[in-house]
């Protein structure tokens, strides 16, 4: 099992979670009672790509896998640094 201890399964604590603002974009579904449509766990899918896009926007480095860790960012930025240094030699 990859995550077999809570010590190493790093999920956000109450000190980590950012303020969360919830907005509903209401477009009634014509097949649902009173326009209702099931949401289920679909909202899980959006945040990770949005964050990766934000990172690319901020530092110009794109990632397309998660989990994304500071160590991954560091590795990419270091590689870019070395490439830039090599280019100026």
């Amino acid at each position: 099992m990859a995550n077999n201890q809570m010590t190493n399964y790093i999920m956000p604590t109450a000190e980590d979670v950012p303020p969360i603002h919830i907005y509903f974009e209401e477009i009634p579904c014509r097949f649902g009672g009173c326009g209702a449509k099931g949401i289920g766990e679909l909202p899980h899918d959006g945040p990770a790509p949005a964050i990766l896009n934000g990172i690319r926007d901020a530092i110009g480095v794109g990632f397309n896998t998660i989990p994304l860790l500071p160590e991954d960012l560091f590795e990419q930025l270091s590689a870019q640094e070395s490439k830039a240094e090599a280019a100026t030699v």
Partner: protein, 292 residues
């Protein structure tokens, strides 16, 4: 839950003397357990090899904080909640009071003890960097008497320390001579709370006319045990504090530490972040116009 309660003996002699007599009667056989925040985790995971445990919980002889004129004596049984709530520790050893807030959660802090933190000897121990830059001493006790050694000599290897098999950690002594020093402590973890450190750096420094007259640097998670950064210190001691000196100190730090790749982080990341933390500390000591 893989622990088997019937496979362990746990006794509570009820007094410090009782514990010391037990340790002396069978050196190395009985493992002290204070708040249990390490031992009980191993127990529940089915990997507690120690079958004979002697409880230190509730021993008032070990749970004291005494401020005298020139030092604070902290009993090994003091919990991290005790430490962070104590006004004398907050004012005399603020890095230690700060570190106490890092230990796990509120629930862990009310049980985890400073003695347990040091004797458990994790390279990532939260109270260690602060104690190292404060030149703390540890007091060890047995039926044979007491002795003090510098805390910097306490750890002798990965999870090995200088205690004899019949000895118990009795107290930690923190000199109260850092009121004028610049002080720094930062931990970089996997999240903001409940995080074992990827790297932590502590520092105390005294500058006189821009020259480093005293410097102590210590780190967690960069070696087999929490350690002073002697080469980085040597690059700063007696030198004028300018950007070039800081860079040199960073290079010496990077050369002297031996971080590893593990489940929490990578050696390269740890090294770079430690150097960044050193820069963060030292840059604040430069006159405002010299900071980049």
């Amino acid at each position: 839950m893989r622990g088997n309660a019937e496979a362990h003996e746990l006794i509570a002699p009820g007094s410090l003397d009782g514990v010391l007599e037990l340790l002396a009667s069978a050196p190395g056989e009985w493992t002290p357990i204070a708040g249990g925040t390490e031992i009980m985790v191993a127990y529940a995971a089915g990997r507690l090899r120690e079958k004979k445990l002697v409880s230190l919980w509730g021993l008032s002889e070990l749970r004291f904080i005494e401020c005298s004129g020139d030092s604070i004596a902290i009993g090994a049984g003091v919990t991290f909640r005790d430490l962070r709530a104590h006004a004398g520790v907050e004012s005399g050893a603020p890095l230690l009071a700060n570190a106490a807030t890092w230990i796990g959660s509120i629930a862990n802090q009310s049980r985890a003890t400073i003695g347990g933190n040091l004797v458990n000897g994790s390279p990532a121990a939260d109270s260690s960097p602060a104690l190292l830059v404060y030149d703390a001493e540890v007091e060890l006790i047995s039926v044979r008497g007491r002795r003090r050694i510098p805390y910097s000599s306490f750890h002798t290897g990965y999870k090995r320390n200088a205690m004899a098999p019949d000895e118990l950690l009795f107290a930690v002594h923190v000199p109260l001579r850092f009121a004028q020093h610049k002080q720094y402590l930062r931990k970089v973890g996997t999240r903001r709370a409940m995080a074992i450190s990827k790297v932590a750096l502590a520092g105390t420094a005294l500058l006189k006319a821009g020259v480093v007259s005293e410097i102590r640097l210590a780190a967690a998670s960069l070696a087999a045990f929490p350690t002073r950064l002697y080469r980085a210190e040597a690059a700063l001691q007696g030198r004028p504090l300018i950007a070039a000196t800081i860079r040199e100190a960073q290079e010496k730090l990077t050369a002297e530490v031996v971080p590893i790749d593990d489940i929490r982080s990578t050696a390269a990341y740890r090294s770079r972040v430690a150097a960044n933390l050193l820069d963060e500390f030292l840059r604040e000591l430069l006159p405002a116009e010299a900071r980049r």
